[in-house]
């Protein structure tokens, strides 16, 4: 019952049926302007979906974020599917997913099929990649730092981190097993 109420409330801003093409185009736009993926996409989705198109209100968007953050898959993709589904059901969700994927897909296809084969042997392209690799390593390392700071005050997080790190480094645990162990430790040790 309560479930129905929330669903209806979230549907309210759109009194008329949103055309599928509009959903597709909206997420094409979002997909085309999100560089780096992940959380970089959220301000853009927020701007388009809440403020511009008014498909979801701010509170509804917070709920969507909560769900996507605890589910597997790209945050951008998950958000889009939920919004699309809310507007037009399954077919709406598919349209939104297609919109998010197409810009990424076409860009990479263009690069790998047409551009890279032509320029790959060039010494300058080699030089660019020579510089890009340490930059990416630094970027990923800085993410560890940023995320670590958020949990620095939380004892349980620190304990789980300190337990998991040496274990996964030494035993070369499968990444999925690292996640499973983390979830298990959280389940066992978490107290309200």
């Amino acid at each position: 019952m309560e479930n129905n109420v929330t669903e209806n409330k979230n549907k309210l801003p759109t009194a008329t049926r949103v055309p599928l093409l509009k959903i597709l185009l909206a997420f094409l736009k979002i997909g085309a302007f999100t560089f780096g993926g992940g959380y970089a996409i959220l301000p853009i989705i927020r701007q388009e979906i809440i403020h511009h198109l008014k498909w979801v209100d701010a509170e509804g968007f917070m709920d969507i974020l909560l769900v996507t953050q605890s589910l597997p898959g790209s945050v951008a993709l998950n958000c889009s599917i939920i919004v699309g589904r809310r507007l037009r059901g399954t077919i709406g969700g598919l349209a939104a997913a297609l919109g998010i994927v197409i810009p990424s897909f076409l860009t990479i296809l263009f690069l790998v099929a047409f551009l890279l084969p032509v320029v790959q042997e060039s010494i300058f392209v080699q030089a660019v990649f020579y510089g890009l690799r340490p930059a990416v390593a630094a970027l990923v390392a800085s993410t560890v730092w940023e995320l670590g700071k958020e949990f620095a005050g939380d004892r349980l997080s620190i304990i789980i981190f300190i337990t998991l790190l040496p274990v996964s480094l030494i035993l070369h645990l499968h990444p999925v097993l690292v996640l499973a162990l983390g979830a298990l430790l959280g389940l066992l040790c978490f107290q309200k």
Binding site: F35, L71, P72, S104, Q126, V128, R133, A141
Partner: protein, 179 residues
């Protein structure tokens, strides 16, 4: 054989999509396991290049890498199959369980909170592992080590935009490359 490659691509990327928690970087170790170690589709350096390409092109890293690896291994069809593989888990989960999950998440459940609480440090461990292996692939001499250190500091001290960091990396590469 071709069909087998397509099946492997789909299944590998399905797993990557299914187990990627905590945004793009946390799934790098799993991608490395599937793409470099298990199937030998790419070398560690090529993989680092894809991450760099993914950072500078639109869209989530997982989708970018799926399109790239798929095309390299099996052409256009391969890129479509791998991309479908990586988005399928999200589509299946959200289109079948979406309503249930939306109401479930609002109920404060201490067990669920515990699991999410435990997943976060695990995600950080995975991202750290990703940084280590990308570092191994990218830090090949003194210049690249200094570059990584400088860009790392620029990011954590001055909150430099990732896009600019990548651009700076490309410029520094052009200048410092041992031609």
């Amino acid at each position: 054989m071709y069909l087998l490659v397509l099946l492997n691509l789909f299944w590998s990327y399905f797993k990557i999509g299914l187990f990627s928690f905590g945004g793009g970087y946390a799934m790098i170790p799993l991608m490395e396991l599937e793409i470099i170690s298990r199937h030998g589709w790419l070398t560690a350096a090529e993989f680092a290049d894809i991450i760099a390409i993914a950072e500078t092109t639109p869209g989530p890293i997982a989708i970018n890498s799926a399109t790239y690896v798929g095309f390299r291994m099996a052409g256009i069809i391969g890129s479509i199959v791998a991309t479908l593989g990586v988005v399928s888990p999200s589509l299946i989960i959200l289109l079948t369980l979406g309503t249930f999950l939306m109401s479930f998440i609002k109920i404060k459940n201490p067990r669920m909170e515990g699991i999410i609480q435990g997943l976060r440090p695990a995600v950080i461990v995975l991202i750290l592992l990703a940084a280590v292996s990308l570092g191994k692939a990218g830090l090949v001499d003194v210049a690249t080590c200094l570059m990584a250190a400088a860009l790392f500091l620029a990011r954590i001290l001055f909150k430099a935009n990732p896009f600019y960091l990548i651009a700076a990396g490309a410029m520094l590469g052009l200048i410092l490359y041992p031609y």
